[in-house]
C-alpha cells in the first residue's frame, strides 16, 4: 500500500482521499516515513513539521467523516521552499543570516495551502537567497539529485524538485526568478511551472529580485501542477504587482490535452550550439511527437535573447542588493560582533560578512556597483532597455504561434562542485529560462526522456504569453500523455 501511495499522483491521491479509500493521516505518515528513510541521502528538507502536518491531516479526516465537502487537494501533502514565510516553522532562505528566524506571518500562498487543508510536511532546501542553479549555495549543505546523488538537483529550488523526484512528497512550491523552478524540474525529471508575473502573490516570499520573482507549483505530473496552481493563484491585495484576473481553468486545460491545430514555435536561438547532444535528441523527438499530435510546428527567431543573460545579471543583482540590505542584525536573525564597543556600522558589516555566502556577496557587490551614481544609466538603465527588447521578441513570436518551446536547460544535471568555482558557467545553465522572467511570461518544464549518453532526465520548456498560463497545461499534458504511451510507463518509474 505505502509503495503505491508514494508513486501515486496528487490527482489520484486526492481521488482516493475523497473516495475514503485511504485517510489523510495514513497518506501523511507514508510520506513522513519516506522522508525519514531517504532524506539523509538527499537532504531535500531543511526542517520537517511532523506534528503540524499530522494535525492538518487529522482535521481533514475528521471533517470528511463529518460529511463536509472539502477542497480538491485537502489531505494531499505538500512541501514549501524555505523562501516562503511560515508561522510555526523557521524561515531561513538557505542563509546563515536568518538562522532560526520565526516569521510572525504566513506568506499568502502558504495561507492558501492551509485554507485548502493541505498538510505541510516541511521546508525545502535552496541556494542561499535563491541565488544559484545547484542548491550547493545553501548555508545548510547541498541537496543531491535522486537520479545520481553525485549530481546537483538544480537550483535554486533543488530541495522541492529533489523531494518530488525522491517520492518524499507529491507536491511542492517553488519560486522562479531566472529558472529556479524549471531548471530543477528539468534535471530531476519532474514538472515545474513559472506562472505569469503577478498572477501568484509574492507576499511572504523573501525577495530576491522583486520584478522577476514568481512563485509556482512543482509536481510530478502536468495535471498535479495544474491542481496546485489553481490553489495558489489569484489576486492578493497585499501585493501591489498582483494581477486582478480571475484564476483560469488550469485543470480543464490539462484534461483537454489536445494540440491539434496549435501553433508551436521553436526558438532557434535556444537550440543547437552549446546544447548537449542527448538533450537536443530528446527535444527533437518531442517536436516530432507534437507534429504527430497535429500541432503546427514553426521556427521563430528571438535575436535579442543573446543579451538576456547580461541584462539579467544586472537587474537581478541591483534589486537584490537593495532587497538584502535589511539583513543588518538590527531586528532579527544573526548578530555578530556586538561587543559593546563596536559601532552600529561595524556590527552591520561584521554580521553581513559572517552571515552571507560568497555568491550572495558577489551579487550584492555587482548590484551595488550597477546602481552607483554615474554607472546607473550604463548598467541598470541599459539592462532595462534590453528587457524591453526581449519582451518585444516574445510579442513578435507570439504573433506567429500559440506557445513556444525550447530545451529547459542546455545540459542534464552536472556534478556537485563542477561549476562552483566558475560562476559564469553556472549562470549559463539558465540561458533558456531567463528570457521568460525578463518578459514576465508563463513557462512550464516537463520531462521528455533520458539523455542516452548519461541516462539523466531531459526537460522541455513550454512558454505561453502573459496571462495565458492555461496553454502550458494543454500543451504540456498532451506531450506528457504521448510520451507515456511511447514508453508505456509513468516516466517517474525510472527512479530507484
Amino acid at each position: 500500500m505505502s509503495a503505491d501511495v508514494l508513486r501515486m499522483s496528487a490527482a489520484s491521491l486526492a481521488a482516493a482521499l475523497a473516495g475514503k479509500q485511504i485517510t489523510a493521516e495514513e497518506v501523511t505518515r507514508v510520506f513522513l516515513e519516506r522522508i525519514r528513510d531517504v532524506d539523509p541521502q538527499i537532504h531535500a528538507f531543511l526542517r520537517i513539521d511532523e506534528e503540524g502536518a499530522l494535525a492538518t491531516a487529522r482535521e481533514v479526516d475528521r471533517r470528511r467523516d463529518g460529511g463536509e465537502n472539502l477542497p480538491r487537494l485537502a489531505g494531499v501533502p505538500v512541501a514549501v521552499k524555505d523562501v516562503m514565510t511560515t508561522v510555526g516553522m523557521p524561515t531561513t532562505v538557505g542563509s546563515a543570516i536568518l538562522d532560526g528566524w520565526e516569521p510572525p506571518y504566513d506568506a499568502t500562498i502558504v495561507a492558501k495551502l492551509r485554507d485548502n487543508l493541505m498538510p505541510i510536511l516541511g521546508k525545502t532546501n535552496m541556494d542561499e537567497f535563491a541565488m544559484g542553479s545547484s542548491t550547493e549555495h545553501s548555508a545548510y549543505g547541498p541537496t543531491r539529485n535522486p537520479w545520481d546523488t553525485d549530481r546537483i538537483p538544480g537550483g535554486s529550488g533543488g530541495g522541492s524538485a529533489a523531494a518530488l523526484a525522491a517520492l518524499e512528497v507529491p507536491l511542492a512550491l517553488g519560486t522562479d526568478t531566472g529558472g529556479s523552478i524549471r531548471q530543477p524540474a528539468a534535471v530531476t525529471g519532474t514538472v515545474g511551472v513559472k506562472p505569469t508575473y503577478g498572477s501568484v502573490s509574492r507576499y511572504g516570499l523573501v525577495a530576491l529580485a522583486s520584478s522577476l520573482d514568481q512563485a509556482g507549483p512543482c509536481a510530478r505530473t502536468v495535471m498535479d501542477a495544474a491542481m496546485l496552481h489553481e490553489v495558489i493563484a489569484g489576486h492578493d491585495p497585499r501585493d501591489s504587482t498582483s494581477l486582478p484576473d480571475p484564476v483560469p481553468d488550469f485543470v480543464g486545460a490539462a484534461r483537454r490535452a489536445d494540440v491539434g491545430g496549435v501553433r508551436i514555435g521553436i526558438i532557434s536561438e535556444l537550440t543547437g550550439d552549446g546544447y548537449q547532444a542527448g538533450v537536443m535528441q530528446r527535444f527533437t523527438e518531442a517536436v516530432e511527437t507534437y507534429r504527430g499530435l497535429g500541432a503546427d510546428i514553426v521556427e521563430v527567431s528571438c535575436p535579442n535573447f543573446s543579451y538576456a543573460l547580461a541584462a539579467y545579471y544586472l537587474i537581478l543583482p541591483s534589486e537584490a542588493s537593495s532587497n538584502l540590505a535589511k539583513f543588518d542584525a538590527m531586528r532579527y536573525g544573526l548578530r555578530v560582533g556586538d561587543d559593546g564597543i563596536a559601532t552600529v556600522e561595524q556590527v552591520m558589516a561584521r554580521t553581513r560578512d559572517a552571515g552571507f555566502g560568497a555568491e550572495v556577496k558577489r551579487r550584492i557587490m555587482l548590484g551595488t556597483y550597477a546602481l552607483s551614481s554615474g554607472y546607473y544609466d550604463e548598467y541598470y538603465g541599459q539592462a532595462q532597455k534590453v528587457r524591453t527588447l526581449v519582451q518585444q521578441d516574445f510579442d513578435a513570436a507570439f504573433e506567429q504561434c500559440d506557445v513556444l518551446i525550447s530545451p529547459t536547460c542546455p545540459t542534464t544535471a552536472f556534478r556537485l562542485g563542477e561549476k562552483l568555482e566558475d560562476p559564469l558557467a553556472m549562470y549559463l545553465n539558465d540561458i533558456a529560462t531567463i528570457p521568460v522572467n525578463l518578459a514576465g511570461n508563463a513557462a512550464l518544464s516537463l520531462p521528455v526522456g533520458l539523455a542516452p549518453e548519461d541516462g539523466l532526465p531531459v526537460g522541455l520548456q513550454i512558454i505561453a504569453p502573459h496571462r495565458q498560463d492555461q496553454r502550458l497545461y494543454n500543451a504540456g499534458a498532451a506531450l506528457e500523455a504521448a510520451l507515456e504511451d511511447q514508453w508505456d510507463r509513468p516516466f517517474i518509474e525510472g527512479l530507484q
Binding site: T85, P103, A107, A207, S210, S322, K326, V344, S373
Partner: protein, 505 residues
C-alpha cells in the same frame, strides 16, 4: 545651554551690503492620514513604542508595500494648492542607505519622477514699509515614508558614543510629503523673513486643506534651510543645508546665522564647505553635520514592488474644483470685508487669529470688537498660559452673546472681561458666569437715581462747576455713582441721568 565654540560672525548689515543671499527650503510634512503610507497601521501620535507596527512597516522579510490612496489624494491636493502641475504618471523609487531607524535599509521615496512639479507660492512678507509679496517657486512635491525614531542613551544623545540606542518604529512608514523650492534670489535682507513667511504660509495651506495638523513641536512639519551667498552679478556660492529647523522663528534665525557665518568666512578670504549643518534651538547657532564629500550614494532605482501612479485626470480636476479658498486670498478678502489697514491685518495674522476673528464676525460680532477680544484679552491669556489661541475654551458664539449684552447695556467692558475670565476658567456659559459672579449692570434707572442724588448731595462744589458750564467735571460724580454701584452701572446712562437732573445738556 550647550557651550559651542562660536565661529566669527559678520554683522548682518555688513554681510548684506556685500553679498546677495540665495535661499532654498525643503519642508517635510507628515500627512494626517489615519493609516501609514504602505500598510494599515494607525498613525496616532504618542503610542507606546513599537505598538503601531506590522510586518510591512517593520520591513520583515517577504512583506510588501501597498500605497495608501488617501496619501496620494492629499499630496495631489497640496500640489494643486501650490499651483503645481500634477504629472500624468510617476513612480516611487528606493533610496538606499543603512541606518537602524530604517527597517528595510532603504526608504521608499520619489526621485526623478515626483508627483507634482513646477508650482509657486506667493507669500506676504512684513517689512518696515508694509507688506510685500514675494513669489517662491516650487520645484517639486513628492511622497515618501517616514523613518523610525532613535533614542540614544548616553553619549550626549547622539548615536556616536551612546551606551545603547532604542528604536521606535511607530513613526516608520507614516506618509511624508516633501516640498522643495527652487532657489529664491533677489530678496536681499528680507531672505530670512521670506523663509519664515513661506513656511508659515505652507503651514496655513496644509491646515486649510486639512491634510496635516502641521504641529511643528510634534515634528509633523520639519524644515531644512539651504543658504548660499554671492556677490551681485557673480555665480551662486557654495550652499549649506541646515537641518533641524523646527519652528517658524528658527527658520529666520538659522538663515540669519548662516548669512553672518558665511559672510565672515568669505570676508576673510575663506571658502564655504558644502555640508549639512545642524541648527541649535537654544543658542541659534549651526554646527557641521555630515560633510557632502563623504555623503552616501543613495543608489536610487524605481521601486519594483509598486506599480506606477497614474492619477486619473478627471479625478485631479475634481480635486482641483473642490479645493478650499487659499489662505492668502482669504486674508485679502477678509481685510477688505473688515475694511482695516495692512498694519491692522498683519496684527491679526501675527496673532494667528484670522480664522478666529472671521468666525467671530460670522457669529454676529462687529470686526473691531472681534479683533479687540482676540488680539487683546485672549492673546494675553494664551501667552500667560503658554497656549495656542485656538486651544482656548472660548467660542465665537460666546463672544457674540457677551457682545450683545454690552450693546444692550447689561455689561460694560470691564464686566465683560470678568465674564470671559470665568468662561476661560471653565465656569460655564457667559450667562452662568454672570449669574454666579453677579456681574450684571444696574440698569434700573430708579436705583441709579438714588445713587445720583446721594452723590449730588455729597459734592455741591462739583455741581456748581457743572452748572457753571464745566460739563467735564461730571466725571467726578459719575465715578462716585459707579463706586456706589460697585461698577455695575452703565456709565453712559449715569451721565445722561445726571445731566438731565441738573438740567444741563
Amino acid at each position: 545651554m550647550n557651550t559651542r565654540t562660536q565661529p566669527k560672525l559678520a554683522r548682518l548689515s555688513d554681510a548684506l551690503a556685500t553679498y546677495e543671499p540665495v535661499i532654498g527650503l525643503e519642508v517635510h510634512v507628515e500627512l494626517g492620514t489615519n493609516t501609514k503610507m504602505f500598510c494599515g497601521c494607525p498613525t496616532t501620535f504618542g503610542g507606546s513604542p513599537n505598538s503601531q507596527v506590522c510586518p510591512v512597516c517593520l520591513g520583515l522579510p517577504g512583506s510588501l508595500p501597498v500605497v495608501n490612496r488617501t496619501a496620494i489624494e492629499s499630496t495631489i491636493r497640496m500640489g494643486l494648492a501650490l499651483n503645481c502641475t500634477i504629472v500624468p504618471w510617476c513612480r516611487f523609487a528606493r533610496k538606499n542607505y543603512f541606518y537602524p531607524d530604517m527597517p528595510k535599509d532603504y526608504q521608499i521615496s520619489q526621485y526623478d519622477e515626483p508627483i507634482c512639479v513646477d508650482g509657486y507660492l506667493d507669500v506676504d512678507v512684513p517689512t518696515d514699509d508694509g507688506v510685500t509679496t514675494v513669489r517662491v517657486e516650487i520645484e517639486r512635491v513628492h511622497m515618501e515614508e517616514d523613518t523610525g525614531k532613535l533614542t540614544h542613551a548616553g553619549g550626549a544623545g547622539r548615536i556616536q558614543g551612546a551606551d545603547y540606542s532604542l528604536v521606535d518604529y511607530n513613526r516608520a512608514g507614516i506618509p511624508l510629503v516633501e516640498i522643495v523650492t527652487k532657489p529664491v534670489t533677489g530678496t536681499g535682507g528680507l531672505a530670512p523673513a521670506v523663509g519664515r513667511a513661506y513656511v508659515s504660509e505652507l503651514r496655513d495651506i496644509m491646515r486649510t486643506l486639512g491634510v496635516s495638523d502641521v504641529r511643528m513641536e510634534e515634528g509633523s512639519l520639519r524644515c531644512d534651510a539651504n543658504l548660499s551667498l554671492s556677490r551681485s552679478g557673480e555665480p551662486w556660492g557654495t550652499r549649506t543645508e541646515t537641518k533641524n529647523v523646527n519652528s517658524l522663528r528658527s527658520v529666520e534665525r538659522a538663515l540669519t546665522y548662516e548669512i553672518r557665518r558665511q559672510a565672515a568666512i568669505l570676508g576673510a578670504g575663506g571658502s564655504i564647505k558644502q555640508e549639512t549643518r545642524h541648527f541649535h534651538e537654544d543658542d541659534g547657532t549651526t554646527t557641521p553635520g555630515r560633510s557632502k564629500e563623504e555623503a552616501e550614494d543613495y543608489r536610487y532605482f524605481p521601486e519594483p514592488d509598486l506599480m506606477p501612479v497614474a492619477p486619473d485626470p478627471a479625478w485631479v480636476e475634481e480635486l482641483r474644483a473642490t479645493l478650499p479658498e487659499p489662505p492668502s486670498v482669504r486674508r485679502k478678502r477678509l481685510q477688505q470685508e473688515w475694511g482695516i489697514s495692512d498694519h491692522d491685518m498683519q496684527s491679526v495674522i501675527n496673532a494667528g487669529a484670522v480664522e478666529l476673528v472671521e468666525l467671530t464676525v460670522a457669529a454676529g460680532v462687529d470686526q473691531a470688537s472681534a479683533r479687540k477680544w482676540w488680539l487683546g484679552e485672549f492673546s494675553r491669556h494664551a501667552n500667560e498660559n503658554d497656549m495656542e489661541l485656538t486651544d482656548l475654551a472660548v467660542t465665537p458664539a460666546q463672544i457674540a452673546d457677551v457682545e450683545s449684552l454690552i450693546v444692550e447695556g447689561t455689561l460694560n467692558d470691564k464686566l465683560a472681561r470678568q465674564v470671559f475670565e470665568g468662561v476661560l476658567a471653565g465656569e460655564g456659559e457667559p450667562s452662568d458666569v454672570i449669574k454666579k459672579r453677579g456681574l450684571a449692570l444696574v440698569s434700573d434707572d430708579s436705583a441709579l437715581v438714588g445713587a445720583i442724588d446721594e452723590a449730588i448731595a455729597a459734592m455741591p462744589d462739583v455741581v456748581d462747576k457743572i452748572k457753571g458750564g464745566k460739563v467735564q467735571a461730571a466725571g467726578a460724580i459719575i465715578g462716585q455713582v459707579m463706586k456706589a454701584t460697585r461698577g455695575q452701572a452703565d456709565a453712559a446712562r449715569v451721565r445722561e441721568l445726571l445731566l438731565e437732573k441738573l438740567e444741563v445738556s
